[in-house]
């Protein structure tokens, strides 16, 4: 136990501290921008990023993963904030945490494998599109200088990393362009126009909402959506970090950790958050592996805000917009276009539907649920295709059955037999099939009895062991007196 703690915390101290600092620098613009998306003060996102990172460092199941305020979560809370205000958001954040802990206790990680990759690809693409769309009101039709600043920011964030690797390019863009904006008096909106920065540590308080069923009915739908989306992104991120580091992680512990972190965040005035793919990748790339990196990211972020809060409000909005455009380009899965061509049509449809529903409803959870249901339907449709081929062997008429026989495929199964045959030897071969349930046995019964009624001799062969067991237990055709009507 102590040994495990030691490797998770202290096996990579230097790398973790450096990477944590890099992540903290990269987190600031995102935390502010996501607060603006959610419609709350920048402090709400900054506090959330601080508490999420610090708590997850201890409670998470995936060392080296970064959790903070995220775009996916911010997008979900927009209507709640608009209609009911910040306190309801904080209450929803607490409830989100509770739901996530429950999910974690009931081993939610197992459920993850039922989410097809087409849905996950749709999820990240929809997220990217929504993040981009959220930027549009901040740069279209404001001023010419806004366009210029967005463009310069994009140039900096894409070109500078080719030459300077140690400092995150978004930070370079922010520092350089904020300085330009301050000294040049351009007409630009700043972060300060959209909210205040307070240079103090977050404090504990209970959200000021009435503790009634009505409150619960307001926040519950948001909390459940936040809980699902948060876990989805967190567990996807955990898999990515697992892969990058070639190590394993405890996904259920991560789910509980996300819950604990959200509860603490809610009590300290932060918005619900989750793991971040982009930041976690930056962390690992910068050499972060252990829990220490996550802790340092949170602490250093808070330190920067307390020291530099006055300057943060001066950051021009177009710079943040440029950074968010970069985030959305980085989030989008660009190989989706070749995926659409190469993947099975049903998968492509699931992906497109997931994206379309999210973009239409602005709710990632709805898209995911619709995508999962749709792909389940496609799956049943695919697997319920059953093929019966007729051919003559000697004097027997052989029907080869190919496919899974269960409640959804019995109709097609019965229909594919030719019941005009009279007085012959019929063999039904199930070598390439499997019998799943009693409707399947019932269908076999029906076919056998129908053939017998027109004077045929029917033999069943090729059943595998489990299918045979089921048929022997349930079928009535072995009873020579059996009639169709009795069944």
């Amino acid at each position: 136990m102590i040994k495990k703690l030691k490797t998770e915390w202290l096996s990579n101290v230097r790398g973790d501290i450096l990477a944590g600092i890099v992540v903290a620098l990269a987190l600031i613009p995102e935390a502010i921008a996501f607060s603006i998306i959610a419609g709350v003060d920048p402090m709400v996102g900054l506090y959330a990023s601080f508490t999420m990172a610090v708590i997850i460092a201890f409670a998470g199941g995936r060392p080296g993963m970064i959790s903070a305020a995220t775009g996916a979560m911010a997008l979900l809370m927009v209507p709640l904030v608009k209609e009911h205000g910040l306190n309801y958001l904080l209450a929803a954040t607490l409830l989100t945490g509770v739901i996530q802990i429950i999910f974690g206790v009931f081993k939610v990680a197992k459920v993850m494998k039922f989410i097809p990759r087409a849905v996950m690809i749709g999820f990240v693409n929809a997220l990217a599109i929504l993040i981009f769309m959220a930027q549009v009101p901040h740069f279209i039709g404001i001023s010419n200088m806004t366009y210029v600043f967005v463009a310069i920011t994009l140039v900096i964030v894409y070109v500078v990393p080719k030459f300077i690797k140690s400092i995150p390019a978004p930070l370079i863009a922010i520092v350089a362009l904020t300085a330009v904006a301050i000294y040049s008096n351009f007409e630009l909106r700043t972060v300060g126009d959209l909210g205040a920065i307070t240079q103090s540590l977050p404090t504990f308080f209970i959200p000021d909402v009435p503790f009634t069923l009505e409150t619960l009915s307001i926040i519950f739908p948001y909390s459940i959506a936040l809980a699902i989306v948060g876990l989805l992104e967190s567990l996807l991120t955990a898999s990515i970090v697992d892969d990058m580091t070639g190590t394993e992680s405890d996904k259920n512990k991560e789910a509980r950790g996300q819950g604990i972190a959200n509860i603490v965040t809610g009590f300290f005035g932060g918005m619900a958050g989750c793991a971040m793919i982009g930041q976690s990748v930056i962390n690992v790339k910068s050499g972060g592996r252990g829990r220490l990196s996550t802790l340092i990211a949170g602490l250093f972020l808070m330190f920067l805000i307390i020291v530099l809060g006055d300057l943060v409000v001066q950051i021009p909005m177009p710079v943040l917009v440029g950074i968010m455009i970069m985030v959305s380009i980085g989030t989008f899965d660009w190989s989706s276009f070749s995926y659409l061509r190469k993947a099975p049509k049903s998968d492509a449809v699931v992906m497109v539907v997931t994206v379309a529903i999210v973009v239409a409803t602005h709710d990632l959870s709805k898209g995911v649920i619709a995508g999962v249901i749709l792909s389940a339907i496609f799956f049943v449709a695919k697997i319920s295709k059953i093929k019966v081929t007729k051919h003559k062997v000697n004097r027997n008429l052989v029907f080869d059955v190919e496919g899974q026989l269960f409640f959804a495929s019995v109709e097609g199964f019965v229909e594919s037999f030719d019941f005009t045959v009279e007085r012959s030897n019929i063999v039904i071969d199930f070598s390439n099939s499997h019998i799943w349930d009693d409707s399947a046995v019932g269908a076999i019964d029906k076919v056998v009895i129908k053939y017998r009624e027109s004077g045929n001799v029917v033999t069943i062969k090729g059943l595998d062991a489990t299918s045979k067991k089921l048929v022997d237990k349930l079928a009535v055709y072995n009873d020579s007196n059996a009639k169709l009507s009795t069944h």
Binding site: P116, R117, L236, S239, D242, D243, D333
Partner: protein, 139 residues
């Protein structure tokens, strides 16, 4: 002659050509061991995890990338080991080559033009610059 050869591959045509050259080198010494190294690029981690249904499928896809290379080595009856590592290709190859003290690194060149090279960066160039042993780049 060379005893420990590091053969860096990425599953492309170029790495097959590199493999053939590595075979020539290895045939000079019957004690020679080739280690095939495949680097899973950090930059592609998100994409690959997203497109794979589970860890097993992902690992299978990567092992498959080594298959044609292994086939060439097998048909020439050379002894070899395989290793899959995660990281940025250039630095990871260099670090491993220097740590394990290989006496030759063989690597295929992607044959990028100068613009692509500026954007993507040349892996083989990085390896040549920083590896402590001779490097054979195969066009």
């Amino acid at each position: 002659m060379y005893k420990n050869i590091l053969l860096a591959v990425d599953g492309s045509e170029n790495s097959l050509r590199a493999t053939k050259e590595a075979v020539k080198m290895a045939s000079l010494n019957n004690k020679c061991v080739i280690e095939i190294v495949y680097i899973v690029d950090f930059a592609k981690a998100k994409n690959e995890v997203l497109h794979a249904q589970g860890k097993e499928e992902l690992e299978l896809a990567r092992r498959k990338k080594l298959e044609p290379v292994e086939k060439i080595l097998k048909s020439n009856e050379l002894s070899y080991k395989t290793k899959i590592m995660h990281g940025e290709p250039g630095p990871t190859i260099v670090e491993y080559a220097n740590k394990e003290q290989f006496d030759l690194v063989v690597i295929g060149s992607r044959g990028l033009n100068s613009l692509q090279e500026m954007v993507l960066g040349s892996v083989s160039h990085k390896v040549v610059k920083r590896a402590n042993c001779p490097v054979l780049i195969v066009k």
